[in-house]
């Protein structure tokens, strides 16, 4: 072997080669999107009182997909009245096992239409089709299936208590997992005998409206589920309506606080699932390749539009260099592009507004002395896209280490000892989720016990399941969704 070859005997991977894969787009033709959608109230689709509609666009192309009704307070009133009437006349009287059958039916029908739901979810929200196909839609269907089974077994859930439904629930969901969040809200509410008015997010109304069509097709009694569309004002009307008994909200901590304050003088039950700034912690004894995969998934899953995203990475100093190199290498392999392409890892940012927020934080990060590393992957010319980004040289007090960005931006910090990282990880008003990577079992349990967060992933990240309760400590909200604990917010326990 020649001497020159010896100098350069490390294997060089061509990380950008993955980007040369032939396009593998999912077919748009399966999605039957109507030019206009109405409000789903009392079992039928009705025009909004105001006659106003707003556009929903494809964030990957900025093209209009459809227009949907803007529900005014008058429409909200109508929806809540219909939910009240359905609650009193039908749903609260129906035996649990009958309610169960309706909910099972919804689950099955989502499975039947899963491919169509997945395509529409990716078109309307910008998420990669791999995620909507393999995660969002199946998990939504599973959530209905799981809670359907609870409907006639509630007496086993809370020893010595007699559970009874709360009544009419106002439910407001975010734009990051549109159908899945609808399922998280509607399924436990129906299983426990409540009726609902659900508002989908302004930028992602379509799969919720498809769910409304499906619910109509499933022949659910009119008014048990009402699905309306609109923006903040519509949500405010749902919260302040005097005839709603329960508010379930998933969204920002700021809005959560406004809601909490708005209902202070009432007896409305509230659950809030709010923001987060999860710490993802890598110890030097961790399986580093798995950890790097977990970190990448933790922050870039759904473009980082995830309340529990692992947006603060803490790396033990002794492995910092190697972890950083691996992260940068892995970053280079990520494909940013058409959400409908099955090769795409990172799709479109959900809206222009959100893209601007993320770009604002990128500037702040640099201004505060952070060192920015972005993938060289070219971004599509049209649509809202953001390169996956790593920040190093971040301090604990940096805004990008304190505030929720809700985008594909990872702040990387370091630590030396266990106690130090516990303190740093918990030093945030949030407490939704956390991650820890180490091969040592006793260290895992020390960490998972001391991290003040509602969900802790050890040697994994961003896993969800209908049987697994989800929700936050501290300012990440209160109440749980999923599992047995997810029943409680929708019941009075006498």
């Amino acid at each position: 072997m020649a001497k020159d070859d010896k100098k350069d005997n490390t294997l060089k991977l061509k990380f950008d080669s993955a980007r040369n894969l032939a396009p593998a787009p999912e077919s748009k033709s399966i999605a039957k999107i109507k030019p206009q959608y109405e409000l789903f109230i009392n079992g039928s689709f009705v025009k909004p009182e105001s006659g106003k509609y707003f556009d929903t666009i494809n964030p990957a192309t900025e093209e209009k997909l459809s227009q949907v009704a803007e529900a005014s307070p008058a429409d909200v009133d109508k929806a809540i009245k219909s939910a009240r009437s359905a609650y009193q006349k039908v749903w609260s009287k129906m035996p649990g096992k009958e309610r169960a059958k309706y909910i099972f039916r919804i689950s099955r029908m989502i499975q039947e239409k899963a491919r169509e739901f997945a395509v529409v979810e990716s078109l309307d929200g910008g998420k990669p089709i791999r995620e909507s196909r393999d995660f969002d839609i199946p998990t939504a269907a599973n959530h209905f299936f799981y809670y359907a089974g609870w409907a006639d077994k509630l007496n086993y859930a809370f020893p010595t208590k007699t559970p009874r439904p709360v009544g009419v629930a106002s439910q407001i969901i975010p734009w990051n997992f549109p159908l899945l969040m609808a399922a998280w809200k509607i399924a436990p509410a129906l299983a426990t005998g409540n009726t609902v008015v659900l508002k989908s997010a302004e930028t992602t109304p379509l799969t919720a409206l498809m769910l409304a069509e499906l619910i109509q097709e499933a022949d659910l009694p009119p008014g048990v589920v009402n699905i309306i569309t609109g923006a903040g004002e519509t949500g405010a009307a749902m919260v302040s309506h005097p005839d709603t008994d329960k508010i379930a909200f998933t969204g920002s901590t700021d809005v959560g606080k406004i809601i909490q304050k708005a209902v202070a003088s009432t007896h409305k039950k509230v659950t809030l699932e709010l923001g987060g700034k999860a710490a993802n912690i890598i110890f030097d004894d961790a399986p580093l390749d798995q950890a790097v995969e977990g970190v990448i998934n933790g922050i870039f899953f759904n473009q980082g539009h995830v309340c529990c995203a692992g947006s603060r990475l803490y790396v033990q100093e002794s492995v910092y260099d190697i972890v950083l190199r691996k992260l940068k290498d892995r970053l280079e392999t990520l494909i940013v592009g058409d959400p409908l392409d099955k090769n795409t890892d990172i799709g479109a940012i959900n809206s222009r507004g959100q893209l601007e927020t993320i770009q604002k934080y990128l500037k702040i990060g640099v201004q505060e002395g952070g060192e920015i590393h972005q993938s060289s992957c070219p971004l599509p010319k049209k649509g809202f896209f953001c390169s996956p980004t790593l920040f190093t040289n971040v301090s604990q007090s940096s805004r990008i280490a304190q505030e929720e960005i809700f985008g594909p931006v990872l702040s990387i910090l370091t630590f030396r000892t266990e106690d130090e990282v516990i303190e740093k990880a918990n030093n945030t008003p949030y407490g939704l989720s956390a991650g820890v990577w180490t091969d040592k079992g006793s260290k895992i349990f020390n960490m998972t016990t001391k991290l003040r967060a509602g969900v802790v992933w050890a040697n994994t990240f961003n896993k969800f399941d209908p049987t697994s309760p989800f929700g936050g400590f501290k300012e990440s909200g209160f109440g749980r969704e999923g599992g047995l604990h997810g029943l409680m917010p929708y019941l009075h326990l006498d």
């Binding site: 606080k257 304050k261 989800f470």
Partner: protein, 303 residues
């Protein structure tokens, strides 16, 4: 030598007690130097009771926060033993409490009931300390190859407004489930019956409970409620018989750091309704932990 002649009860000059507050395991007076006069039914002067200030409350929260790490990390069994020890101490000082309560206007029967039930309640919750976890925990059968479980953890520092019409039992009924669950607390005693609360602090001080786990202040709800509700290092607030406007105010002020707000009203603490593990669970956060399971697909042995 002359015999001291004042041992005769009638001639003896009583040593009056200065009623203090209980903060961080110490018994200071209020930093504010303020007091209010407590009188008995027939107008006798009973005590110059501390009228605690915002600063007293903040000091108490600091003590409660510092105590939280240690208290929440104690073995549940050990917490149970300490609650039991509180009951033992109270039992030993029963006559003092009865005496104090009758001075504050309760009948002998009421006073006896109040103290007896307070002791029973402490024992009730002593027993729950290492049991509610099993009741509220789940192992969740997730569909992926992971081991997944959910279990309760204490919410943190809790501020408490004790019921005004109960000298001791109300306070004990609110406090016991909070600390049984590993939380620490700052309690505002009844302004109508503050003496038993202060003396209960002395029971706590001699019962193996670490300083700061329970802090007891005296003073007025209207003055202190806003601070109990808006302090950024308090995780939850428990209200009792306060009125609608006070509860609304507490809820509004709690928004700043999304405190958990609970009100237990119309509960007759003398009955069975006054005790339940669900009171413990109100001040618990459910934590869900995930870990991968290797090769679950291979585990198909069917012996």
């Amino acid at each position: 030598m002359a015999k001291i002649n004042n041992t005769n009860e009638e001639q003896r000059l009583e040593v009056l007690k200065t009623y203090k507050i209980y903060v961080g395991g110490q018994f200071p007076r209020t930093e504010s130097g303020r007091y209010y006069v407590l009188k008995s039914k027939n107008g006798d002067h009973l005590a110059n009771v501390c009228q605690c200030s915002r600063k007293d409350f903040r000091d108490a929260v600091l003590a409660a926060r510092n105590a939280f790490g240690g208290w929440s990390a104690r073995a549940a069994f050990n917490r149970g033993q300490i609650l039991y020890r509180i009951a033992e101490m109270l039992e030993g000082r029963k006559s003092q409490f009865v005496d104090e309560m009758t001075k504050q206007g309760l009948s002998l029967k009421q006073a006896n009931e109040e103290v007896n039930l307070s002791i029973e309640r402490l024992i009730y919750y002593a027993g729950w300390c290492d049991k509610y976890q099993a009741m509220a925990s789940t192992v969740n059968p997730v569909a992926s190859s992971h081991f997944n479980f959910s279990s309760p953890e204490p919410t943190g520092v809790v501020s408490v407004l004790a019921p005004n019409d109960s000298p001791l039992l109300g306070l004990v009924s609110l406090m016991a489930p909070i600390i049984a669950g590993g939380n620490t607390c700052v309690i505002l005693a009844s302004s109508k019956y503050p003496l038993s609360a202060v003396t209960f602090g002395e029971v706590l001080g001699t019962s193996d409970l670490s300083g700061g786990v329970v802090n007891i202040l005296t003073g007025f709800v209207d003055e202190l409620l806003p601070y109990f509700a808006d302090h950024m290092d308090v995780n939850a607030i428990v209200l009792s018989d306060q009125g609608e406007p006070q509860v609304t105010l507490a809820k509004e002020k709690s928004v700043f750091n999304l405190k958990r707000v609970f009100q237990y009203k119309n509960i007759n603490w003398l009955t069975e309704k006054g005790q339940s593990p669900y009171f413990i669970l109100d001040l618990q956060e459910i934590k869900t932990t995930w870990h991968p399971i290797e090769n679950i697909g291979g585990a198909k042995a069917s012996y």
